[in-house]
Symmetry: C2
Subunit: 486 residues, 2 copies
């Protein structure tokens, strides 16, 4: 790689001769690790021109740097950073001056600690990765995805790729979602009732901003998706966690002054409970009676391989009280960051205005690629392939969990991609998970899902979305062993 002359700036207030300042500038770049062995420096002519100094000054500086073995000269090819140049320290030096700002005071609003993530980035190196929500390389069809992405890069889609949509979305994607995706959940919506979001989490965040303030009360399920609790904590609303049971959120336990309920009726997160129809109707009736809004996170409804998914809450809603959150990031891949929000037009209008302020719109290329991936049927094929594989993995999971007498606290009657386990009381699954790393087993401790400051510690989530069926038995055996010898 060539180092551009434009990366050099002479500090006009610095001391020393021009030549020595140029030497120092180059040497410092090497010592800081910005210029690396083998990289070519700008020619003396270019450097002189850029810095506005005479060429001989640069040549003299370069000659000194060669003498000091920072650089080597390869005749006509030019000057290169020497292989023998001093190495930068393994940990980059903090610049001496740390500034004069009192940051704890200058920061007007704190957002840390936010999402706390202990999942190792190199999870795929583990032999038994019961990890949740990452992409299984063996299931994803990169080939078709690549074709769709490439098509969306073509000149015919130049607008969709490059244009500033301001607060708009790709009309092609919105139309597909309205005509094909939502009707599968029993939902009919016009384009002014749909907003494309940066994943389901972004949809939940937007909903919380529009529907809540410090005087309003939000209900969340307990346990629940930790990122949602984080969103609501930051929004500074009144927050009431309500304990779920084997049928999900119990409507009769909601506080009287509830303004917004966040719920996961298809698969409760993380217990995987599915809310029965009778309870869904009871929830909607209570929403009408107590005048609150329900935000339905319909995550993983596609993974219903055991039986057909129950109708979405929104499809049962006659009164326009349900805001619906869906995602493509979950089923295609999380790095996609694409989801959607469906609700009455006045609500979507506010969410759209907020999204425009925060980030204008989700990147056009991603929207168009997904639109092709959906409309060419690849998405359905992917979901079928995932469902089939998950089904088999789930079977093996259940069998071996039963064999080892482990207690399943929730396993989703429709399907899903994980099982919620309860270890014997006294077991702290955070410590258990730590121990299991040595056996190359990755499990997710359950405590972060709970709202309490002293959460139950014996739960854990075992996902089968990224572990091959052939490794499940041995992985479960290792978990059972670790519990037995806790």
């Amino acid at each position: 790689m060539s180092i551009s002359a434009e990366t050099f700036f002479l500090d006009h207030s610095a001391e020393g001769t021009l030549q020595s300042r140029i030497q120092q500038m180059v040497a410092q770049g090497i010592l800081e690790g910005r210029f690396r062995p083998g990289e070519r420096l700008p020619s003396s002519r270019k450097m002189a021109q850029h810095l506005g100094v005479s060429r001989i000054t640069v040549t003299l500086a370069y000659t000194e740097l060669v003498a000091d073995d920072y650089m080597i000269s390869r005749g006509r090819s030019g000057y290169f950073v020497s292989d023998n140049a001093p190495e930068p320290p393994a940990f980059p030096a903090q610049r001496a001056d740390q500034g004069t700002v009192d940051w704890p005071r200058a920061i007007a609003q704190r957002f840390t600690p936010g999402l706390s993530v202990d999942k190792p980035a190199d999870w795929s190196r583990f032999r038994y990765p019961f990890i949740y929500g990452q992409t299984d390389r063996t299931l994803f069809d990169s080939a078709n995805w690549r074709l769709c992405a490439l098509r969306a890069l073509g000149m015919r889609d130049f607008e969709a790729l490059t244009a500033d949509y301001f607060d708009g979305d790709d009309p092609q994607l919105v139309e597909f979602v309205a005509r094909q995706t939502l009707p599968r959940r029993g939902i009919l919506a016009n384009s002014d009732e749909i907003l494309i979001t940066m994943g389901a989490q972004n949809a939940l965040w937007l909903s919380a901003q529009v529907l809540l303030n410090s005087r309003r009360r939000a209900v969340i399920e307990d346990p629940c998706y930790p990122a949602l609790r984080n969103i609501l904590t930051q929004s500074r609303c009144q927050l009431s966690p309500v304990q779920v049971d084997r049928d999900g959120l119990p409507p009769d336990k909601l506080p009287d002054d509830t303004d917004v309920v966040f719920t996961t009726p298809s698969h409760q997160c993380p217990t995987t409970a599915t809310m029965p129809l009778s309870r869904r109707n009871a929830l909607l009736e209570k929403a009408e009676a107590d005048d609150f809004i329900v935000v339905e996170d319909d995550y993983e409804f596609e993974m219903s391989f055991l039986k057909s998914p129950s109708p979405s809450l929104k499809s049962l809603d006659q009164n326009g009280r349900v805001i619906y959150v869906g995602s493509f990031s979950k089923s295609i891949f999380p790095g996609l960051r694409l989801g959607y929000l469906v609700g009455p037009a006045p609500f979507i209008r506010e969410a759209r205005a907020l999204r425009a302020t925060v980030l204008r719109h989700p990147p056009g290329h991603i929207q168009r690629t997904v639109s092709y991936y959906l409309s060419l049927g690849h998405y359905d094929a992917l979901v079928r392939r995932m469902s089939k594989t998950y089904h088999e993995r789930r079977r093996v999971m259940e069998e071996t969990l039963h064999h080892h007498d482990l207690t399943v606290a929730g396993q989703g009657t429709y399907g899903g991609s994980s099982i919620w386990l309860r270890a014997p009381s006294g077991v702290d699954t955070a410590i258990l998970a730590e121990h299991l790393l040595a056996d190359s087993v990755l499990v997710e401790p359950g405590a972060p899902f709970f709202a309490s400051d002293t959460p139950p510690t014996q739960y854990l989530r075992l996902a089968y979305s990224s572990i091959p069926a052939s490794r499940i038995s041995e992985g479960v055996r290792l978990i059972a062993d670790a519990i037995a010898h806790y």
Copy 2:
């Protein structure tokens, strides 16, 4: 296209026989425009299975629909929506029931009116598009972009494409920005001082959230980028617009209780003034004396084709008081939505935590593609090509504006992509712009850039980033004519 059986749901509370309800369901989909002529319906077998009814019921319903010319049967190929089926109304009918929610009450926080956009989406059909900030099809090198995107879709980059980075970014992109992009602006930063954002606007939004609350005072330039004013209005901070002069923001006009200053020293937006070095130093001295933070939006610094860009404000900052905002969306294409935020680690930590809550991370594939595009030198080549073309367009602009005696109020001594024009007083450029549409001329009225409720109306922005040099003279002539006959 085939219509999936899964898009059908029987409403169990509806009246009528099963057969009539199926008929109605299909007919309604056609009338609502969801099912279109030529699309294939699910086979009677599949439909029966999905709905849990007998096959004969579905067949009878289908036969009725064929008789009514909603559908046609093509023997073994199956059932299709008929070309003669009733057409959906041009404007989709609002569903009769409008819900029971009092939305003006249910919405706890309003974000409309936000960004107000009058720019036509079909701007490229105009003959004289003096439009700002859209991509010029003739300058962008789709070929290299496509190659980089394709490479980033390869199996070697599977992780970067698919992985959930949580609150992290593509390390490859962050490293390139730290080693190559920022040093060109005289900035050295570690990876914990850099955050990748969804464009510069997202970077400004994140900064505002972290640095401001209702008790803090922010200074913006007047006139300024309307989206920034919108961000700050929504953040509910104390807001002080300070009038800029021909050298940009005057530090001696800042209120005493300023907490954060948002400024565009490279090219003031929209006047294109460049802040001289002496004023930059004065601003930094005042920041130190009065203990405020400066957010520097360094937009368009790449487009310095008239002379080398002046050093960034951040590169002059010895005290860690400057937060730096950069963008790739501007120079590559706005639909990309990618920028970066550079600041002291404690600040970046909070901005990162907030970003994680709002959207986790910008999509991995986009980050990796840009990383390739930069490191393979395509970006520099693009910027050189744009600069060369803009230079020529700018020359023609200046010449013809001068020829027609139009008053240039700002034109950027370094380059840029637009000229700030002042029409004779009495001219309302909003009305002028409206008139000019009929001549196929697109110009941008200046009023929305001003903070006042009664802004000056005689300014307008003429951009040359999307109009060929050959059309500029005629376009400017039309503008001059329109002004003369106003």
